[in-house]
């Protein structure tokens, strides 16, 4: 499979000697149009890779910020089809930024694996993260995505021992997402000293760039992670900006993009200790 945009982006950043900043936002949050405005603004604000969440009614691994964002997306009427349309609209104006969809399996089951893989590739989507689809259950979805050259991004966690990492790493491409805490999104922070050795272990098992997420809320923390990982993911802190904008009756895009800039600047300013 080709993971052209993802591979090209990590290669370019490696040449620059820095980690990637990955911004997670929710489709349709707070509305379809504002979500598109946010998406279009992300690359200029410093997002090297975009994760676009598609809403699900029962997001079991999310903390309150992303749960609420999903509810806002659903209230705005964003279906998986709507998310794919949003992805396409973004891709029409940006040929280079890797775009990863992230969410739960049931909407994809409903859409049909083959139809989804086709439609995602057609919309310019590069990868997919499915929170509730571990390797044991991923075979048919993985085959459909492979056929359309969309990468199924795998998750490694603090509970993954070396034997488990081997299972997860089988047949992966693009990058691997290291969930740095056993917990839900946007809650606790990883113990600082635990992340670097874990990233080393995951990198060795996968031979792919390692993106680290969960609990990264401040520029300081983002910089700390950027020194040891190949990419830094922030999500809850960004969707919280949407919530704050709604509460203050302000447009969402400027607030979200300002937060992206602050986090991205911190990542760019951090010197990595090692990379792939």
């Amino acid at each position: 499979m080709t993971t052209a945009r993802i591979d090209a982006r990590f290669a370019a950043l490696k040449a620059e000697g820095r980690a990637a900043f990955v911004a997670y936002v929710m489709a349709g949050d707070p509305s379809r149009d504002e979500a598109l405005e946010i998406l279009r603004g992300l690359p200029a604000a410093g997002a090297d890779i975009i994760e676009l969440g598609f809403p699900f009614s029962d997001p079991m691994a999310e903390g309150p910020p992303i749960q609420k964002a999903a509810l806002r997306g659903l209230r705005a009427g964003l279906t998986l089809k709507g998310t794919l349309d949003l992805a396409r609209a973004f891709r029409n104006g940006d040929a280079d930024t890797p775009l990863i969809l992230m969410g739960y399996l049931n909407p994809i089951e409903t859409h049909g694996y083959e139809a989804f893989a086709h439609d995602a590739a057609d919309a310019g989507v590069d990868g997919l993260i499915v929170v509730d689809c571990p390797p044991e259950e991923a075979g048919p979805l993985s085959d459909a995505l492979d056929a359309h050259q969309v990468s199924l991004i795998r998750l490694a966690t603090p509970t993954s021992d070396d034997a488990r990492l081997k299972v997860i790493a089988e047949g992966t491409s693009g990058f691997v997402y290291y969930v740095s805490v056993a917990g839900v999104t946007g809650a606790k922070e990883a113990v600082a000293g635990d992340v670097a050795p874990a990233v080393e272990r995951v990198r060795a098992a996968f031979g792919l760039p390692v993106a680290v997420g969960f609990g990264i809320k401040t520029p300081e923390r983002a910089a700390e992670i950027a020194r040891v990982a190949d990419a830094v993911v922030a999500g809850s802190v960004l969707v919280d900006e949407v919530a704050a904008a709604l509460a203050a009756n302000e447009p969402a895009a400027p607030r979200v993009l300002a937060k992206v800039r602050a986090l991205s600047d911190a990542v760019k300013g951090a010197r990595p200790l090692k990379s792939v």
């Binding site: 044991e136 259950e137 809650a187």
Partner: protein, 403 residues
């Protein structure tokens, strides 16, 4: 696709019942799921585990529960003899404790020191809080804020038993949201916490394990019928929410093709509208809460809220084994509305002196026609899976009586 009942040996090694079941959880939980699977297999093969469980089922739960021939109800319906399997006489008043006792012994065997559970009507929460009190383990029960409001007596019981009850306000604040929140707790406390799921659903091994612990119901029914009628029952009937009491009754009879197995889903205000909880008859297959099964969902795959007068049936999914039994045609599934359940609740109280919970009241609503289908001289067993004390406030309200 289909397997003959006498070859029935589901689930397979991957935890699947045909296309249903499986292990659809976050990667953080996968090592725990595998650990649980191995621990349960080891316990199942260990005679000392079964002996310990049997001891507690006898002395603490009060098993075996009686098999009672409901003569006046049988006469009222004018068909086969109707028997009640009296699981409402268990300690805590429902079948839920059978499973809780098995799982807490397993949790202790695994060295877990903290128990979490979800509950809808509160019966599973009460049963979990009960066994936690008995064994001195801290217990946290997640319960939708809406359910906390409408099930105050059970909330108080859980607190008396020393459990911490956490009202869940996320989503729509009912059972499925409580289950989401319990999963979030588990993923955040992986080292010491055991998630004690209350129904035969969730990621493998839960559907098989909960079934095995509830199958004591069906094994006792089998022994009673053979002892008293020297034959097997002609039909077994049970209410279905997640499906644990029904699968517990059905499972020991799956290989007996002559025994009809009939589950009764909650039709709420009617299957033709959106206000019901009949996943098998009004839903389609999808993935939620760790398993693939029939779900109430919209065209986009978003999960819909179930509705039933019975908070214990008010769940948009169903255990994966029922999904499979439906597809292979081994079990039949029917439905009963809120109004029918209310009527049967009162009828059973007056005819038999037994106030049933609203859950088995759904099974009671179909047992008459089933008894007539089977005919005079036949035997139909209904699982009286819970007693109605918890429901008297809700029923009074529906009947316009102020308590």
């Amino acid at each position: 696709m289909t397997t003959l009942p006498n070859d029935y040996a589901w689930p397979d090694a991957e935890g699947r019942f045909g296309p249903y079941g499986g292990r659809f959880v976050a990667e953080t939980l996968m090592p725990l799921i595998h650990e649980l699977d191995a621990a349960y297999e080891a316990a199942k093969a260990d005679p000392s585990f079964q002996a310990e469980l049997d001891g507690f089922l006898t002395d603490y739960v009060g098993r075996p529960s009686p098999m009672y021939l409901a003569e006046r109800l049988s006469e009222h319906h004018g068909g086969a003899d109707i028997w009640f399997k009296r699981d409402e006489l268990n300690h805590t008043g429902a079948h839920k404790v059978n499973n809780c006792m098995g799982q807490i012994l397993l949790a202790m065997r695994m060295g877990k020191t903290r128990i979490i559970a979800e509950t809808g009507a509160g019966q599973h929460g009460v049963a979990t809080a009960t066994v936690c009190a008995r064994f001195g383990l801290p217990c946290v029960v997640y319960m939708g804020a809406t359910d906390v409001e409408r099930q105050q007596p059970n909330v108080f019981r859980m607190k008396l038993l020393g459990a911490e009850v956490i009202p869940v306000t996320s989503g729509r604040a009912t059972l499925k949201d409580a289950m989401n929140e319990a999963m979030r707790d588990w993923v955040s406390n992986v080292a010491d916490t055991y998630y004690l799921i209350g129904t035969a659903a969730g990621p493998h091994p839960y559907p098989a394990m909960v079934r095995d612990f509830q199958a004591v119901i069906g094994r006792e029914v089998r022994a009673s019928m053979l002892a008293r009628r020297e034959k097997l029952p002609d039909a077994c009937v049970a209410a279905i929410g997640g499906g644990s009491n029904a699968i517990g009754l059905f499972h020991p009879f799956i290989a007996d093709a002559g025994v009809r197995l009939i589950g009764v889903e909650a039709a709420g205000k009617g299957l033709d509208g959106p206000d019901h909880a009949a996943s098998l008859q009004g839903g389609r297959p999808g993935v939620l809460h760790g398993n693939r099964t029939y779900l109430l969902q919209d065209d986009d795959g978003q999960i819909l809220e179930g509705h039933s007068i019975s908070a214990g049936l008010d769940y948009p999914g169903i255990g994966p084994e029922h999904a499979w039994l439906k597809d292979i045609g081994r079990a039949e599934y029917r439905a009963a509305t809120d109004a029918e359940a209310l009527e049967q609740f009162q009828l059973c109280a007056r005819l038999e002196g037994i106030i049933p919970a609203l859950e088995p009241s759904h099974a009671l609503a179909r047992v008459g026609e089933i008894a007539r289908e089977v005919g005079k001289g036949g035997d139909v067993v209904l699982n009286m899976c819970g007693r109605g004390d918890k429901d008297i406030f809700a029923v009074a309200k529906h009947l316009g009586v102020e308590l």
